[in-house]
Point group: C2
């Protein structure tokens, strides 16, 4: 069996903790590992790590690779050159697996940003689905609804069984409250989890029937020499979901009920729902001081958050943005996100702290002609060999030891020591030691942007 | 006429905007100037600036002097060596004025942290009060209550007039809701504003009668050589309020109704009350994005605050602490403040940004053995000549030019240039130029506290 993890995402729903460049699946929400990492580990229960392929947008490749590399030495991450919804990604990914393996395996596709805690139940469902997929059906995983949710799509099944799954009658879009309630009382509707399985050749055959405009373009892909998805070919494909392209049109679909818990963590309210609560019904994370609040979600990532007498309220504090929201309005977080995007306010896009393969940096202060960062380089890591056309840099070591290469000369700096890097000088920062390295960087120049970088060498393949 | 501004305060009620070391009167809440500065200007309407004396605790002297020096070249600020409530401060301040002027003037005493916008009405009341004070009465300013407030003291007056003011019947403590409502319907109760006037000799005479244990100690004060209030003498005085020491016991008091608006800005709710509101009843200050909130107070000092669907809620964002509070619970802010104080959490004490006579600094990052600040030195200002026993410092200029004196040698640094200051080296930082100077300071050492400073010379008298 092979696995295809869909690791894209806009980062809008859990703003300000998620950002466009750091979406939900990369976050550690309730755990020491991210949702993406948990998804990868879940798949490892049913297949070898080498059989797992992740697909994500160009913007997220570096972070996805970095997180997965902590679980498996050489994770395969395919980069979608442009945003085309799920159908092109899944179908091209399927073609990739067929070509690379020269076989016709069963493929399990799953989103990277859902929470499933009962891994045994998940494994049991996958094993059941695999048998049905082997028989030539596309298997979709349905979740027995526990209430009349209006934020999910539903799948209606017939009572007859098909190869020990339910025969799918139809896929339906997000319903109104009344319709959702009818679905629940009818009893033959399931939530659409976005998890499904199929034999590779079966998906391609169904695509040929249901969406020939995608299928026809597949012949231009050739993964024999590279893992790159060609931009020009991919861009020609229509931007549609796999539900719309295949699932809703095919009559070759069976539904298997997911035998585990499941939560899409699609809003702060759903995070609140799955979190352990104190005796006042509050979920409190981080440096928080509360006086008498009830049924509230209070999350501090760094600063002190003091709350008094709140009810049914969500407070999320991050280094550069704070959200305060009534619990029943958390779906409107997306409106805030979209407004910021429209206003070109970077608060939707990145955090003050930006994670890199080698560690992270935090912007401490910005002003006319200068920018100050704190940079952490993890043990054994090295920033690319680089130069800048518009800025000089000044580094001061705070903790650990820095190995600096400047114009071919090596300097070893201990805490309190500093070095100047002039415009255009070729330099690199390295931490070959066992202790974490922290430095202050003061940038000076007329143009202080991340894009002002010429890379000569990079251990993470970013040249 | 002379003026005595009481400029002490704990900083607890408007936390996190106010701090113990930066209380309410130093804040610019709705204006470009602070409440203290507005108080000083209000007094300037009725007396020359040279007649205004301010009194405050040791901790606040530097900030009070700095703010007042923007309005008047050489403001007189007396430092209360220890915290003794209002009576000792006012009585010693009165003695100071009598000795310095060798006369017996009328003195107007007023708190520094109240808001009065109708200065003409204030001036009219003072003129009326002055006439009554000249006749030998202590005049207290009363505010006609507009509702049954339980947070203020009340003054009951008799219907008979005394020298065109009301004869005071008694002072009463903060009442319960029921009693406050009775006061309102009775009609002969006023709020106690804490503003009063008297001839200097009259106050001392009344003190002699009412609180001889304070009066007797006055003879040990001698201001002929210095403006310093001696610690040992002041510390012997009882810590009591002027109401308790004199006003409640004397029967020589007249009440004059304050002919202006008045607000003590004693909580976030009262700030909300006096602020202009948008069509949804919200008061929004700073970088805020709102979706459908109502009747809320949302204040951002630096970061983006996004609010969705809040009602009757107060959100206050500062660089290191965020308050989220139901509007009817703002009096509980003091509980948070007290808890922080008990926990030795400095968030009650100082801001990340600390104002100094020469500019300000902001703590950017702290860690094991290091501390990074951004320091702004205003044009023409100079930090004290100093050294440190436990830390080295590294300075990088960001904006402007720095004149650095290091072990007797002068260095002029332009942006991007840096200098190292070793443990125990004597140094000073100066900005003799017209542009603002900004530097990054990286401190390194085993003990990184503000108290590790030896001052040799200081243009603000802090040696």
């Amino acid at each position: 069996m092979y696995g295809l993890i869909l690791a894209g995402g806009s980062g809008s729903r859990l703003w300000p903790l998620s950002r466009e460049l750091y979406p939900k699946q990369l976050l550690n929400i309730q755990d020491t590992e991210s949702l993406l990492q948990a998804t990868f580990e879940r798949l490892e229960r049913v297949m070898p790590a080498s059989n797992i392929i992740s697909m994500t947008g160009v913007k997220h490749v570096s972070n996805v690779k970095y997180q997965l590399s902590k679980l498996y030495q050489n994770p395969i991450v395919l980069s979608e050159p442009t945003s085309k919804n799920t159908a092109p990604a899944i179908i091209v990914g399927t073609k990739f697996i067929m070509e690379k393996t020269e076989s016709d395996p069963v493929i399990l596709v799953l989103p990277s940003d859902h929470q499933i805690k009962d891994i045994d139940g998940f494994e049991k469902t996958v094993k059941k689905g695999e048998k049905i997929a082997q028989k030539g059906l596309i298997v979709t995983f349905g979740i027995k609804p526990s209430y009349a949710e209006t934020g999910y799509g539903y799948i209606k099944v017939d009572s007859e069984e098909i190869e020990s799954g339910f025969k799918v009658n139809k896929f339906v879009e997000k319903p109104t409250k009344e319709i959702a309630e009818k679905y629940i009382s009818d009893g033959n509707y399931y939530w659409n989890s976005g998890i499904f399985m199929f034999k590779a050749s079966v998906l391609l055959e169904e695509t040929k029937k249901c969406t020939p405009e995608i299928f026809e373009k597949l012949e231009n892909y050739d993964f024999s020499k590279s893992n790159e998805i060609p931009y020009i070919e991919f861009d020609k494909m229509p931007a549609i979901s796999i539900d719309y392209a295949v699932m809703e049109k095919s009559d070759n679909i069976a539904l298997v009920k997911l035998e585990s818990d499941w939560n899409d963590l699609g809003s702060w309210s759903s995070i609140y729902e799955v979190s352990p609560k104190d005796e006042n019904g509050n979920v409190i994370v981080g440096h928080v001081l509360d006086e008498g609040s009830k049924n509230s979600f209070i999350y501090s990532s760094s600063k002190l958050v003091a709350t008094i007498g709140l009810e049914d309220t969500v407070i999320v504090e991050t280094e550069d943005a704070i959200l305060a929201c009534k619990s029943d309005k958390t779906q409107d977080v997306k409106k805030i996100f979209d407004t910021l995007k429209k206003q070109n306010d970077n608060t939707h896009l990145v955090h003050k702290t930006v994670y890199r393969p080698w560690g992270y940096y935090t912007v401490l202060a910005e002003g006319k002609g200068f920018l100050t960062k704190m940079i952490q380089v993890n043990p054994g890591q090295k920033l690319s060999v680089q130069s800048h056309n518009h800025r000089s840099e000044h580094w001061v070591v705070l903790e650990g030891m820095a190995k600096v290469l400047l114009e071919g000369k090596e300097h070893i700096l201990s805490p309190g020591h500093s070095i100047d890097i002039d415009v255009k000088e070729i330099h690199s920062l390295q931490n070959p030691y066992e202790e974490t390295l922290k430095i202050i960087e003061v940038q000076k120049g007329d143009l202080l942007i991340e894009e002002d970088i010429v890379r000569y060498e990079d251990m993470y393949g970013r040249v």
